[in-house]
């Protein structure tokens, strides 16, 4: 098929000036070049920041999918939590699976007077509490361990996070990876010899698929003294 004359001309002789002008434009996304959002929060792990295109998104949900606890899945967030409490915002833990151990949190540089533990008992209470914490505007980050959450509940949480400029972290089982989710970032966490393997399933301003290993010593610098 013969191309349209105008199109052919443009393709055949791309004007250097035009190309430069296009390349200079900031509102055209050029595939894999990462766009850093102003609203991103550093994860504390440079490799992970690159994978996520800047860091944890503010005002959004992050899903952390793992079937195994004790692999450093919470330690991954300690730099963020420390930064948030240092910035004067609060951090909420909704229905944590065990007792959050204050000396370890304090050791990671988190201001304990800005940590809130919410002992919600069942799924509706957990989701409600998380929504309250995210939407309140007082919390910079909220972590939750819900049993089940359908897409509608997740959307409510996403809206609450946008409203309160907070980042919500949901720990969920890996079988939920198939469920559609409004979360901005979905990560699959698994243990390896070297540390914690983070596989990006979904992220903002880019494609998932990248894998990064966060080494043990980096997760919690003071952990092993």
């Amino acid at each position: 098929m013969k191309p349209h004359p105008d199109t052919r001309d443009a393709c055949a002789a791309p004007d250097d000036e035009t190309l430069d002008a296009l390349l200079r434009r900031t509102d055209i996304w050029r595939g894999r070049t990462p766009l850093s959002g102003d609203d991103d929060l550093a994860t504390g792990h440079p490799a992970l920041d690159t994978c996520l295109g800047g860091g944890w998104p503010r005002g959004a949900l992050v899903e952390l999918l793992t079937d195994q606890e004790g692999i450093g899945e919470v330690s991954l967030l300690l730099p963020l939590l420390a930064a948030q409490t240092a910035a004067g915002r609060h951090v909420a833990l909704v229905a944590p699976p065990h007792i959050p151990y204050a000396p370890a949190l304090a050791g990671a540089g988190i201001a304990l007077d800005r940590v809130l533990v919410i002992g919600a008992q069942n799924d509706p209470e957990i989701l409600w509490s998380l929504e309250q914490a995210l939407g309140s505007g007082a919390c910079g980050a909220a972590l939750a361990w819900p049993g089940r959450a359908d897409t509608r509940a997740l959307r409510r949480l996403q809206l609450a996070a946008e409203r309160g400029h907070a980042t919500g972290f949901l720990y969920r089982a890996t079988r939920e990876a198939g469920q559609a989710s409004p979360a901005a970032v979905r990560l699959h966490l698994s243990p390896t010899e070297a540390g914690l393997t983070v596989q990006v399933l979904k992220r903002r301003r880019g494609w998932g698929g990248s894998v990064v290993v966060v080494p043990h010593h980096e997760q919690n610098p003071r952990r092993l003294g």
Binding site: E69, H98, Y101, I118, E193, L224
Partner: protein
């Protein structure tokens, strides 16, 4: 029998018909201490107070009467609009009213509750002025002259007060005049034109019948017999003659009405507690039906608190039932506050957790302790204060729904024993806690109960010996290790000295 002068005055109101011979003694006797230029009284008359105590917002129009027994037999005291449409009028015997309307709801009048409601409204009125007077006959007087500028002028202030009252479910008539008696008179008669000086007041009330003044029936009868039917005629009569024939109080009352004589009124001193009661027109089993009446009570509370510059940190809400003892809900706040919308949210969350035992027939809101409203520090950065508010509001909401014990903060304790090295705190009081001393590795999760140790653990760190506590009976001597299992999970475990078995006590999450 009528004198010619009075007849002329009656027929030609525009002229001054009174012969100078008669008017002369009435004018000079007292110097005229006119009220200060900025004194202005707003009288609020609540003609349907008995009915206002029954919450009707959001309800279909129902025929409702409040009955009273003034002469030994029950008769209708007040009627709702639907009842009036059925032909029921105040003063009618109750039996006749029931005959007119089969599904009429009847409630007994409670004069004490009406008086209590009026006093609550007086405390509520202190948010507009510092001088409020409670009067008989369901009238409140507010001295608003000095509040006009703050509230944006007379018309704004009056409209705002009436709107706020309507939001509380009260229907009031307002009268504005320079004297308390004048304002009361205008309010009772529903005359909305303000009388901002004595001349305007006399012009307004000159033509009113003498019955308007709430004087004893015998006095009014005698005035009628003297041919005095209008107020304008009354104050042209000789004062000493009036005093002699009808009592010395009458000219004094007239002088106070027109502002020739001062009429000081004692200020209402509000109690430092709040209790308000509201009846529901029918039993309500649905929680959402309680929302509007509850909001009304909370708004009343907020007005009272604003008048006192106060706030509350705990509230008691009693839900009354027909055949059960009342359900009492106690509500605590993270910080003193008075925002009615926030309080309503908390109450509704609380009601979702603590369901009342039976259908609700009424509610009582009580606040026993008033606290000063916390000062807002004017911070350099504007969002610091709102962040504190948001934090406390969040705590309130969480606690209202989940219970006080379900929400806590964390702190480090000065103890080497790991299970005693932390404690729960009240997140509402933000105190800096101890920072942990340099210790060995600590896990993010502590297990509530130690678990038996799985096989095939690889040691990562340890031992860290902790031997302490011998002085308080909780002595221990343990070696703590960090170990990793085959799946890559890191555990914290300890071995009692002299024992061979290890137990897991924490997870490095």
């Amino acid at each position: 029998m009528k004198s010619p002068a009075q007849t002329r005055q009656h027929t030609l109101p525009g002229l001054d018909p009174v012969p100078a011979r008669i008017a002369a003694p009435a004018d000079p006797p007292l110097p005229r201490p006119r009220p200060g230029p900025d004194t202005l009284w707003l009288a609020l008359h609540f003609p349907h107070l008995a009915l206002d105590l029954i919450a009707r917002e959001g309800m279909a129009p129902i025929p409702l009467v409040v009955c009273d027994t003034p002469r030994g037999r029950p008769e209708v005291h007040a009627t709702s609009r639907a009842a009036r449409r059925a032909g029921i009028r105040p003063g009618m015997p109750l039996g006749a009213a029931l005959g007119l309307c089969a599904d009429l709801r009847v409630r007994q009048r409670d004069a004490a509750a009406e008086h209590a409601a009026l006093e609550t409204l007086a405390a509520w009125g202190l948010q507009y002025t510092d001088h409020v007077v409670v009067e008989d006959g369901h009238v409140l007087l507010l001295e608003v002259g000095r509040s006009l500028r703050l509230f944006g002028g007379l018309e704004h202030l009056r409209q705002r007060i009436l709107d706020d009252l309507a939001a509380l479910g009260h229907h009031a008539r307002a009268g504005l005049a320079v004297t308390p008696l004048g304002a009361r008179l205008l309010a009772r008669l529903g005359i909305t034109a303000p009388a901002r000086d004595t001349d305007a007041l006399t012009a307004l009330i000159r033509e009113l019948p003498v019955e308007a003044l709430e004087w004893p029936a015998a006095t009014v009868q005698r005035l009628r017999g003297m041919g005095v039917t209008r107020l304008g005629a009354l104050w042209r009569l000789p004062r000493d003659g009036l005093a002699r024939r009808l009592g010395a109080w009458l000219p004094v009352h007239l002088d106070r009405l027109t502002g020739r004589r001062p009429d000081p009124r004692p200020r209402f001193a509000p109690p430092s507690r709040f209790e308000s009661r509201l009846w529901l027109p029918a039993e309500m089993a649905d929680r959402s039906m309680l929302r509007l009446p509850l909001h009304r009570l909370l708004r009343e509370l907020a007005g009272v608190l604003r008048g006192r510059g106060a706030a509350v940190q705990s509230l008691v809400l009693q839900l009354l039932h027909a055949r059960h003892p009342a359900t009492a809900l106690t509500l605590g706040l993270a910080a003193p506050g008075r925002d009615p919308d926030h309080l309503l949210g908390l109450c509704m969350e609380r009601l979702s957790r603590q369901v009342p035992a039976a259908a609700v027939t009424g509610m009582v809101l009580r606040a026993d302790t008033f606290l000063p409203l916390p000062h807002r520090d004017t911070a350099l950065l504007p969002d610091t204060g709102t962040d504190t508010d948001a934090w406390q509001a969040l705590l309130d909401r969480l606690r209202a729904r989940l219970g006080r014990a379900a929400v806590w903060g964390l702190a480090v304790c000065d103890d080497h024993r790991p299970e005693r090295a932390w404690t729960r705190t009240d997140p509402a009081d933000s105190r800096q806690t101890l920072s942990s001393a340099g210790t060995g590795p600590r896990p993010l999760w502590l297990l509530a109960h130690p678990l038996p140790c799985p096989p095939d653990l690889r040691r990562v760190h340890g031992p860290e010996r902790i031997e302490t506590g011998w002085w308080d009976g909780g002595g221990e001597c343990r070696d703590y290790y960090v170990a990793e299992d085959r799946r890559g999970v890191r555990w914290w475990l300890f071995r009692e000295r002299g024992e061979g078995t290890s137990r897991l006590c924490g997870i490095f999450g």
